[in-house]
């Protein structure tokens, strides 16, 4: 039987693509979550606006 190396290469190449693709997906997800967490942390640390003073009492007529 011929060796059919092209089929062997196709099988191993495809497996490498699928596993590499899944790994990259996990890495991308990890990066996105870290960025989102950082954004959340940044908004939490921002100084909150102080309540404005009510101003002088309005004279009653």
């Amino acid at each position: 039987m011929p060796d059919n190396w092209s089929f062997v290469l196709a099988a191993y190449g495809l497996a490498a693509l699928v596993l590499g693709g899944y790994w990259r997906r996990l890495l991308r997800l990890e990066r996105e979550l870290v960025a989102r967490e950082r954004r959340r942390g940044a908004t939490r640390d921002e100084p909150r606006p102080t309540p404005t003073s009510p101003g002088p009492p309005i004279p009653r007529r």
Partner: protein, 218 residues
């Protein structure tokens, strides 16, 4: 990334390198099929790891339904996802191996059909999880499906005994010693260990990301 995860990743990388060396450098050329038989070192470990992954889904689903442990639900989710990846590799490499040896990419043989059904069931499992917004409800429904879906695993494995099939009987998971030269068995075992390590790495990483997702979107 935790140190355990990093160690698993490195071990998996080393294992895969060793597996490639065994498959292409140590294992001899098979007498009947020629070098195309080397696809076996990829095809067989992929399905065995898929069995392992779906077995973990079954156990984690039972634990979740028993005590509503969120960790068990995350493990089931991650393991199902990784199991689907390995099942996909098994089906694709099987088709590539089938063309030169059987003369066809695909046939509705009992083994091929039952594996495809298993693939679709677990894809459905992931879809179900994604479709339900309420996390607790999604986990509960998925756990029930994770238990029912596991019924297909023995069907896949024993299909070659129960029906007349073009696919050969199991090579490793069978009573008695494997009907192969020890060098072939060793190459297969090294690749199996590498795939199990890779499964462990992917699953550990996915479980951690699922936990992080829950915290971020809480």
């Amino acid at each position: 990334m935790t140190s355990r995860e990093r160690a698993l990743g490195w071990l998996a990388g080393l294992g895969l390198t060793a597996g490639l060396v065994m498959a292409f450098g140590v294992a001899p050329r098979e007498a009947t099929q020629g070098n195309v038989q080397r696809i076996m070192y990829l095809h067989v470990p992929a399905i065995l790891v898929a069995y392992l992954a779906f077995g973990v889904v079954l156990v984690a689903s039972v634990i979740y339904l028993w005590g509503r442990a969120a960790g068990a639900d995350r493990l089931a989710h991650a393991s199902a996802e990784v199991g689907v990846v390995f099942t996909g590799i098994n089906i694709a490499t099987g088709a590539i191996w089938g063309k030169p040896t059987w003369g066809t990419w695909w046939t509705w043989d009992a083994r091929l059909t039952s594996v495809s059904i298993m693939f679709v069931i677990y894809l459905g499992y992931l879809l179900l999880r994604a479709m339900i917004e309420d996390r607790e409800r999604a986990a509960r429904f998925a756990a029930v499906l994770g238990i029912v879906a596991a019924l297909d695993i023995p069907l896949v494995h024993f299909s070659v005994y129960w029906w007349r099939t073009l696919h050969q009987p199991p090579t490793l998971l069978r009573p008695g010693s494997p009907p192969m030269d020890p060098t072939f068995v060793l190459a297969l075992m090294v690749n199996l260990v590498a795939f199990v390590l890779l499964y462990g790495y992917f699953t550990a990483k996915r479980v951690r990301l699922l936990r992080q997702e829950e915290e971020v979107f809480a």
